[in-house]
Subunit: 436 residues, 2 copies
Amino acid sequence: MIPSDWYNIVPDLPAPPPPPLHPGTRLPIGPEDLAPLFPMELIGQEVSGERFVPIPQEVLDVYRLWRPTPLIRAHRLEKELGTPARIYYKYEGVSPAGSHKPNTAVPQAFYNAREGVRLLTTETGAGQWGSALAFACAQFGLECRVWMVRASYDQKPYRRSLMQVYGATVHPSPSPVTGAGSKVLADDPDSPGSLGIAISEAVEVAGATSDARYALGSVLNHVLMHQTVIGEEALAQLPEMPDLVVGCAGGGSNFAGLAFPFLREKLAGRIGTVFRAVEPAACPSFTRGAYAYDFGDAAGFTPLLKMHTLGHTFVPDPIHAGGLRYHGMSPLLSHMYELGLFEAVTRAQNECFAAGVRFARTEGIVPAPEPTHALAETIAEALRCKESGEEKVILTALCGHGHFDLGAYDRYLAGELDDYSLPQERIDRALAELPG
Amino acid sequence: MIPSDWYNIVPDLPAPPPPPLHPGTRLPIGPEDLAPLFPMELIGQEVSGERFVPIPQEVLDVYRLWRPTPLIRAHRLEKELGTPARIYYKYEGVSPAGSHKPNTAVPQAFYNAREGVRLLTTETGAGQWGSALAFACAQFGLECRVWMVRASYDQKPYRRSLMQVYGATVHPSPSPVTGAGSKVLADDPDSPGSLGIAISEAVEVAGATSDARYALGSVLNHVLMHQTVIGEEALAQLPEMPDLVVGCAGGGSNFAGLAFPFLREKLAGRIGTVFRAVEPAACPSFTRGAYAYDFGDAAGFTPLLKMHTLGHTFVPDPIHAGGLRYHGMSPLLSHMYELGLFEAVTRAQNECFAAGVRFARTEGIVPAPEPTHALAETIAEALRCKESGEEKVILTALCGHGHFDLGAYDRYLAGELDDYSLPQERIDRALAELPG
C-alpha cells in the first residue's frame, strides 16, 4: 500500500523547466557545482529523466512507521457546511515530526549515510523541517546540526526540544560558531535572525567539512519527487476521482506531493481534475510575484533559479504559517504554472485560522497554520457548491498538525491576529533588486 | 475493523467486585445516588451484567476519525536493543486529543446529549482528559466547562488553548465562579489548586444545574469498558498472541482497555499471556497501597470505593506523568489484582524518560510521560530476553504522544529530573486517615 516508486513529473511535461544558472557565468550549473553540498544520488535525482525512481528498501522500512497515511472523508465538516460537495483530506500529521517533511528527510539522510557522510546541516524557521531532519538522521546514525532562527528558537522552545530528543544539536541563529553568524552578532548582538542567515551558517559548515553535507526541505526537484508518495497513496485510496485538488504552497513540496500523481493522470487524459495552489495573502509569489531568475536565499549564495519570486530581499510579514513565508517558489512548479497546469489563489490569515477552528471542531484534528490555507479555500469551494448544488469531489492536503502552534490559535481566538495588507510598492521595491 | 461492541469483563470474573458504599449509611449506593451526576445509560453500564455492549452508530461515526489505531511492530527498537523479543505497540496518540481518552469521552458526550443534557463539567490536571472531553462535546453540540488545576493552567497554556479551540470554557481552579473555589481563594488567593479542588468545582456546578452533568475520565467501570476498543482491535491486528501485555496504570483505564480482551481469552483458556501494570515509583497504589474502602477524591465527596489506595490525603510528588498521579486505583482492577489476574511493578521517573528518548530515536514517536513507564518495563523485559535468548512476544500500550510534554523532556535531557524516593512513613501517615 506504500508506493514502491517516487514519481518524477519532469519527463511528462510538454516542455522542460529552465535550468539553474551559475550567478557568475550565467551558464547552467553542473553536478560538480553541487557536490560540496549534496550527495551524488540526490544530484542525479535533481536532473533525472526517469519517470519513476524506486524507493530503497531502507527508506520504506522507515516510511512504515507512519505510512500509508490516512485518507479521510470529512463527513462531519460537509454536514456542518450543508454542502453537497464531498471533501477528502490526506493527513500527513501522523508522521513522527508531525508534517509531510519526513517523506524527504528520510531519503536525504539515507543517501547521505550511504555515501559516507557523517554530519548533515540545515536551517529551520518554525522548526518543522529541522525536526523532520533530526528524526531522519537518528534513523541512519548521522549527526545533525540545525541552525534555528533565533526568534523561533526563543518563541517555540518545544520545537527545539523535539529536535534535541531526536539527538540533534540546535544552534540559535545567528550563532557564534560560524563566520557568517559571528559577523552578524558583531554588528547586532541581539539579532533575531532570519532564514537567510541560518542558511548561510548551515551551508558554511557543510562546505567547510569534508564528511558533512547540507539538506534542504523544499523547492528542489528531488524534494518534490520524494513527496509524491502522498499523491500516489491518495490515488489508490480514493473511492472516486477528485474534481478539484487543493494544497497550500510555500516552497511547493506539499502541493506538488499531492498534485503530481493526479497531474500525471490528467496529462494522460484519464481525469479532468482542476488543481489549485493556495498562498498566504502576505506572501503571494505565484499571484503577485515576477517569473524571473532570482536567488533562493536572502543573502544571494545560491545558484540563480527561474521562479515566481517576490524578490530575494522581500521580507514577508510575520504570519504564523512560517512554512509559507518564502519569497520564491519551486522552479519546477513555477514552470508548470506558466504552462497553465494549475491555478493559484491567496487567503488571508484570519480566515485561515477560522477554517482551522471549524475543522478542529468537526473533524477533530487541529491543523498547522500552513494547511489552514488549503482548508479555507476548500470551505469556500464547498460553500460555492452549496449555492450551485454541484456535487464536486474535493481533495485537500492536510500536511501537518498544529500541536506546536496553539499559541497562534490563542491569539486568533483573542482577536489579535493581523491580516497584513501588502502594498504593491513593497513588492515593486523588492523586485527592483532582482539580480541583473 | 473498528469493534462493534465494548467488552464488559465483570460477568467473566470468578467473583464480582465489591460495591461502592454510601459514606453515611455504609450501604451499597443505588442509581438514584448517581443520577444528579451521570446520565442513566452510563449508570446502567456501570453495573451491567452483559458481556458485550453495542457501540452506538453515532459513536462509531466519531471513532472513525482516528480508529482503528495503528498496531506497529517495533523492529527498529528491537534491533537497537539486540533482543530476540518481538515488541508490538498499540498507538492511541493518533486521536484528535492525542491520547486514549477520547475513546470514553465520545460515548459519554453522546449519551448525555441523547438524554437532553446541555452542559458537561469536568476537572483536568495535565489536560489530557479535559481536551478529550472538549473535543467530544464539540461533536454532539454540548457545552463543556473544564476546571483545570491552576498550576497546570499556568504551566501548560497549549493544553488550555487546545480545549478552547474545541470550544470549551476553561476555568483555572480554584475559580471564583463556584462556592468551593471561592472558599479556597478567600483563604489563599494564590492557591496553585489540586485535582481534589477541581473535582469539587465541577461536581458543584453539575449538581446545581438541572440540565448539566459531570464526566469522569478513568477509574469507573463504564470508562474501562469504553477503552476495550483498544484491546479488541489489537487482538484482531496482531499476527501472533502476546506472551506479555504491559501498560501503565494511573486510574487504570489505559491498562484495562488493552488488557481486558486478552484477559477474556486467557480466562477462557485460549492463551497463556502474562499481564503487567506499571506504576510510577512516586505513586505506587497497587504495589505499596492498602486494599481498602476509601474516597475517590481528596476532599471526600465521592462514594467509598474498595480499591488499592495510598490514602485520599496522599499527595504524590510532582512527576511529569500527571495522568499517573492518583492516590487510588480503579476498583475493578483492584479486585482483579487481588484475584491474581495480573502483576504490578514500579518504574522511576528518569528511567522512564530514558526509555521515551530511546523509543523516539528508533520508532520516531515521542511518547507522553505516562506510557514511558510501560516502555521502560518493555525495554527491561526485552533485555532480559537478550540474556536468556527467549523470543518473547511483548505487546505494550502507547497511550499518547508527548507533544505537550517537551518541557519535561527538556528537563530530563538537562539532567534536572528527580526520581523522588517515597519513604514508607509518608504512605503510613496517609493510610492512617482512611475513612472509618
